[in-house]
Amino acid sequence: MPPSRRCAAATGGSSSPRPCGFFLWYVAYVIAATAAPGMMARPVFGAVNVALLAGLGQFLSTFLLTWAYARHARLRRDRAALDLRWTVFEQERGQERARARGTGR
């Protein structure tokens, strides 16, 4: 597979569902907090209630998604991106050389 395809393939699978996912989770949280305060206020243990757990859950999910994304990018995309970069550089150099040869004639 040429580098560009590898890059595209590596990316396409991951970036689309993930942004939607966290956003929906966040929106669900906001809606629950505003529209269902009774449910959110139910205590889970001691003074900690559902709302606090949900909030902390948002923090946790954000940290996890960040870590996962960075890891994914490091493992999958970076090498392909570097390959692509070299390919493009080579192409450009080739083109420039061809152009120079052409004008030099």
Binding site: F23, A35, Q58, R77, A81, R85, E92
Partner: protein, 542 residues
């Protein structure tokens, strides 16, 4: 407020100012005077340094003082702000950081102008940057004024004005002489101080409760007079459906707006590659997350140890909760320990304000000089010539069909109504400072849409208008249902768009030739903006 507090705090303020001036001088010794250096610090910051700087830029007085105060007064509802502010960073990480670093040179306008008619887009984007910056600046200045007012007591009215003028003058000095390098280092120093201060206070609070977070919460709830309702959402925003919608819209704006903030965006250009930009955001997320968790503890701690009534008595918006908490933890307002801790926290808050103001000033100066001035000065030129505007050797996208002229964002460019900016008179307990920040964030949300929606069929004017529209709706907002208008430009691009745009992936579409730029190292992750597939092949063999 004893003279002891005041003197000590003023001494610490001056120390910080001296340190920052020192940094500025040190940085400006080796200046080459290039645009790269002024706007982007030479692009040589490491991800960790840049991460600290981004976090420093973001952790402003609004979060440190304002939101903790909100939590101290209203309990859980304040937490919702923090969550919105924090989750927003995922959007930045996934959708913005690398893209912006690939496409632009110094400002957001570079990114958007890469695909559309340059001049109107630059003007639109530049104007919106300035508007957002002004809103944000006002919030910070208000904070600086209140802080000084707190310190100097009632004699403070003149001192407040002098402070604002002084801070403004100082910023001009920093930015003109130091450029991005100086402001970045100032941000880094301030971020370290802020984290250090927050950690110290959090540890003290937890020690008070012997590590028992549960007990902290119940004490806070009891002391508030609302009992368990203090810990549940709805105390402030749960009144009627209007304020609930208000709040939902706020939640959306918080998440969408961060990615459009100009001083945050400009920090993606201070690193050499897109990969470094991504790593800086990861660092920033770690720092900001930790800081916000601590802010939660401090807010509830203030409620538990001081009680919301006392906090409210000192400042109706709760902005002084953390300094008062510091005084209390040091042993009470009258003791030396209390005075010292109070002075430190006040100085850190002041440093925060200074640093953020510097960052915003630089970002808006970049917009004015790089986008607005360059565009307005230039007459229409043939597309072959790409002057000023940071185009470098960018190639126009001619392959992909029509690019309609960006619509002139005409009357929508009115500045949004100032109800959020009447100093404190909004009658909104969140405080003018937080509200103005939010207005800026609302507006910035429109700019994010501009980034994603740029492309054939998306006019530049609409995202800006949308952004201004949002802030226009939001500001009169108390009592109006505030739902952000659906953005026309906000479409998900299909996967294979010939010669044109990319979708959500960073590396979509085979064989795009990335823009080569003179600064080197800018070609990363394949590049995907404004690229023409030239010649027989797209460069790909697929």
């Amino acid at each position: 407020m004893t003279t002891e507090h005041q003197t000590l705090a003023l001494i610490l303020f001056s120390v910080f100012i001296a340190v920052t001036l020192g940094i500025t001088t040190w940085v400006s010794r080796n200046r080459h005077g290039s645009a790269e250096e002024f706007y982007a610090g030479g692009r040589l910051f490491s991800p960790m340094e840049n991460g600290f700087a981004i976090a420093g830029d973001y952790m402003s007085a609004a979060s440190f003082l304002g939101v903790s105060g909100l939590i101290a007064l209203f309990g859980y509802d304040g937490l919702l702000y923090l969550i919105g502010f924090f989750v927003a960073w995922l959007l930045v990480l996934f959708l913005v950081a690398e893209l912006v670093r690939n496409c632009g040179r110094f400002t957001l306008a570079d990114v958007v102008a890469a695909r559309m008619s340059e001049r109107p887009v630059r003007i639109a984007a530049g104007t919106s940057s300035v508007v957002v910056s002004v809103l944000y600046l006002v919030a910070q200045m208000v904070g600086a004024g209140s802080l000084v007012g707190l310190l100097l007591g009632d004699a403070g009215a003149v001192a407040r004005t002098l402070t604002v003028i002084g801070v403004g003058a100082l910023m001009v000095v920093y930015v003109s002489f130091g450029g991005m390098r100086a402001t970045t280092w100032i941000q880094i120093v301030k971020a370290v101080l802020l984290m250090g201060g927050a950690i110290a206070l959090t540890v003290l609070v937890l020690l008070r409760f012997h590590g028992n977070f549960d007990q902290l919460l119940s004490t806070a709830a009891d002391r508030s007079g609302h009992g368990a309702r203090f810990l549940a959402p709805g105390l402030k925003y749960g009144g009627d459906w209007t304020s609930r919608f208000d709040f939902m819209s706020l939640g959306l704006a918080l998440v969408l707006g961060t990615a459009g903030l100009p001083h945050i965006l400009s920090r993606f250009y201070t690193v050499p590659t897109a990969r470094a930009a991504r790593r800086s955001v990861v660092w920033a997320i770690a720092l900001i997350g930790g800081f916000y968790l601590m802010t939660i503890v401090l807010g509830f701690g203030a409620a538990a140890l001081l009680g919301p009534q006392e906090v409210r008595a000192s400042n109706a918006s709760g902005n002084t909760a953390v300094p008062l908490l510091a005084a209390f933890l040091g042993g009470g307002a009258e003791s030396t320990g209390g005075a010292v801790l109070f002075a430190f926290v006040a100085a850190i808050a002041f440093a925060t304000i200074l640093a953020v103001v510097a960052g915003i000033t630089l970002a808006s100066s970049a917009s004015v000089a790089h986008d607005l001035y360059a565009s307005l000065k230039r007459r229409r030129r043939p597309t072959a010539q790409r002057g000023g505007g940071g185009a470098g050797r960018r190639r126009r996208d001619r392959g992909g069909g029509d690019r309609p002229r960006a619509a002139r964002p005409g009357p929508e460019r009115r500045l949004p109504g100032g109800s959020g900016l009447r100093g404190g008179g909004v009658g909104e307990p969140a405080g003018a400072a937080v509200l103005a920040v939010l207005a800026g964030v609302h507006h910035a949300g429109g700019r994010l849409v501009g980034v994603r929606g740029a492309g054939p069929g998306g006019a530049a004017g609409r995202p800006v208008a949308g952004g201004l529209g949002k802030s226009r709706i939001a500001l009169p907002g108390r009592g109006l249902p505030v739902l952000p208008a659906p953005e026309p430009g906000d479409r998900v691009r299909p996967a294979r768009f010939p010669g044109g745009l990319a979708g959500n992936g960073h590396l979509r579409g085979g064989g795009r030739r990335a823009q080569a730029r003179g600064d080197g190292g800018a070609l990363a992750d394949g590049g995907r903006c404004g690229v023409i597939p030239q010649g027989p092949a797209d460069g790909t063999q697929a």
